[in-house]
Amino acid sequence: METAKSCVDDDEYLAGSGRSKKITGKQVGLGLLGLGIWYTVYKQLLPFSYFFSYNLLGLEKGSHMGEAIQFFVYDSPKVMMLLTLIVFVVGMIRSFFTQERTRRFLAGKREAGGNVMAALLGIVTPFCSCSAVPLFIGFVQAAVPLGVTFSFLIAAPMVNEIAVILLYGLLGWKVAAIYLGTGLAIAMIAGWVIGRLKLEHLIEDWVQELRAGEAVVVEEELGWPDRIDRGKEAVRDIVGKVWIYVLAGIGVGALIHGYVPEDFMASVMGKDAWWSVPVAVVVGIPMYSNAAGIVPVVEALLGKGAALGTVLAFMMSVIALSLPEMVILRKVLKPKLIAVFIGVVGSGILFTGFLFNLII
């Protein structure tokens, strides 16, 4: 579950702002210049890491220490730069979507098509764990089918820009695409299955009986400067919170990279150990980490012979099935429905794990 969606520095808000709706040529120019500098620096990171570790520090190429340091010096700025850029862009994109708009759009949608739309909207609609309950009530009140609601609730934390960009940065676009694709598929299918099971009676009674007021919608008029502000807020908020996890994760990754033997994990988490997939899922449920913290660990495990399916299953279980979220959802769902939710999503993750261990 994504932890961060709160907000920015006090100063920014307390200062307030006089806002205009138009973007100026100067701002566009500055943006392009910034992007150019970003790209130039990004391209220098790998040569710099070699220079730093092997020339400047004089470490021996291929030595444990050298490998570990070079890995850390290359990976940390790389991941932080990617993260900053993408969080900024996604922050801007998110300003086009609100929970109100998503709810209105999904209201009365049929199953199947509704599940697909809900999972996709889960990626771009701003969402934080603490707004899960009001959002759920709103969806029920607006007659969004239960299964469609679940597709949204599964996709929103699991398929997020931070997970995808970190996988891309550390493991390449193929792993990122597999994660994105299977994450969406699990959200769509699990939601559809839950819808088919007709479990509406397992929503807490007070939610059903609630005679909520008419949904209040306050439309904001946002101009481009506001959207750029949203992007900056997202960077300050998310990057400001997760950088420590990213560095810690890469640090662990670096140690494993340099010091743990190549096939260390193969016997425990390798392809032949079929039981490792269910174990990975079960172990992942009580663990709670955001995507930023888990991806570097995933990278290290993969690098040491763990099978991709097993590692993906572990990662998805940690992010998508988390105890704190269950506790929050318990306020609106009866325990049986939470059990079904864990069962259905867990099965989807298991299936994904086995599938990729089989084909890759």
Binding site: D10, L14, P134
Partner: protein, 77 residues
């Protein structure tokens, strides 16, 4: 003036409350500020995403943290 800040108590909600308090102080208006944290109560107000700010029964913002300048403008209305 009666101001309600709706939210279960996450970071955004607390920030919103701080901003409202600061705006009230800056404008020097008389207002009672209360927090609504119960999900049921929030839903009954017709609010399905948090944080939200209600001033004298009128919902001013839903689902995002307002800027202080905006809150001050609402207080002047």
């Amino acid at each position: 003036m009666e101001i309600k800040v709706c939210g279960p108590g996450c970071a955004s909600c607390e920030k919103t409350e701080k901003i409202v308090v600061a705006a009230v102080a800056a404008k020097g208006v008389e207002a009672t500020i209360s927090k609504v944290t119960d999900f049921q109560e929030i839903a009954q107000l017709g609010i399905f995403s948090t944080p939200a700010v209600i001033i004298d029964g009128e919902v001013k913002c839903v689902g995002n943290v307002p800027k202080q300048a905006d809150v001050e403008a609402w207080l002047s209305q």
